[in-house]
Symmetry: none
């Protein structure tokens, strides 16, 4: 969805199962205030771009006009090299946990070397679920008051956009250019690995299957693999299974 | 209004001639998210605390309940030692112009020595007028994109509240404790993987063997694996080879 040509651009903000069009509109306004124009929507409500939403967007209706509705979260982030998931709390999946400031400085550095990055925002009531967080490389948690953690969706998006704007231009310390694998390539690796392991009897205890799958998927997507390394992992997988010893995969 | 006894407290947020109750409600939510509970209102609309506003405040209705409606801006800030006025642009009145970050660090320092501070927010459409800005000691301008400066009132209040919270030296978001694998464990993984791959014919081109070994070792040691993930990688390795399907390794 976000092609390699998207490198060098501001992050895409991906709203996953948002419940209220007005929040999407308000988020568009906050995004545009800080130079973020790319909005992706996964399963938005039917009326997400109604008059209420447009009114709340105020002068940022162009962000709504340009928003792309994606079939799935995988689709929305498939072209990204690095994905940040906003969450209120840890969900038992290991990821680096960053503050908005740390995350957007990191994003600026990545964008500076041509990577495409996305930030995920979950539904108002529940936030992102584990199956969604697993697609991210890092978690961003806004350091709210412990007394009241529940932020409005548009407030959260605006804060992250603000930190992006502030954090731009921070020079990257480590300027080594590597071809970081896209999320799509990592998802495919996880899928193939799980399929192969399944065929080999890895998931032998029925009650653990889902947890094990999630764990594997999280690990393989989180690890900072380059494109070449993803190919190597496929080669390892096939070699160990005895499918194409030492051969290359297509 | 805010007496000297208010020293040591978080800033009071003063909304001057706000137009919409829903924005007051949304601002209350953003304030409470970042530990700011004192709201002052100068000439709010009659229905400022209607059901819409309370709904938008979500869990922060207590901030609305505690809001003080003041007869004038002078009254609202009379007990403050230092007042920050949020404005989009310069108005020809010379004041120090601070970013939200600078302003809230300054506020934290002042509060730390017992001063009472207030932040002023103007009406949605026009912002603060000169007669109001003149009552402030410093101006705060949010560094928005030049392409779209007009922020939602509640977004602006939330941003300032966020910077207040951050500027107080809030501890970092707790990172979940993970047991990063030792280098020894990663080396052992690399060694076992290479041995297995060798047995499966991975290194079929003799002149590449050393380069391939080095590449694999580099990858497996560089990846940020936890101890549990190293074990998972061993399990994957053994499962794919058909040695101990799904079993644990010693």
């Amino acid at each position: 969805m976000i092609g390699r040509s998207g490198g060098g651009e501001a992050p895409a903000f991906v709203f996953v199962r948002p419940q209220l069009g007005v929040n999407i509109g308000a988020a568009a306004r906050g995004m545009k205030n800080f130079g973020i124009g790319r909005m992706r929507l996964v399963s938005p409500p039917e009326n997400w771009c109604g008059t209420d939403a447009v009114a709340r967007a105020s002068g940022a209706a162009d962000v709504l006009d340009g928003a792309v509705v994606c079939d799935s979260l995988e689709d929305a982030v498939s072209g990204s090299h690095f994905v940040y998931a906003t969450t209120v709390r840890q969900r038992g999946l290991w990821k680096p946990v960053l503050s908005p400031r740390e995350a957007m400085r990191d994003a600026a550095a990545r964008v500076g070397v041509g990577q495409a990055v996305s930030v995920l925002f979950g539904p108002e009531r529940t936030g992102l679920c584990n199956d969604e967080i697993v697609l991210a490389n890092a978690v961003v948690t806004v350091p709210t008051s412990p007394a009241f953690r529940s932020m409005n969706l548009a407030h959260c998006a605006t804060l992250i956009a603000y930190e992006w704007h502030i954090g731009r231009g921070v020079p990257r310390v480590d300027a080594e250019v590597t071809e970081t694998a896209s999320i799509a390539a990592r998802c495919a690796l996880a899928m193939h690995m799980i399929t192969d392991l399944e065929a080999c009897g890895y998931f032998d205890v029925p009650e653990d299957v889902e947890a094990k799958r999630l764990y594997l998927k999280n690990m393989l997507i989180r690890l900072d693999l380059t494109e070449a390394e993803v190919k190597t992992m496929h080669r390892i997988r096939k070699t160990l299974r005895g499918k194409t010893p030492g051969g290359s995969e297509s």
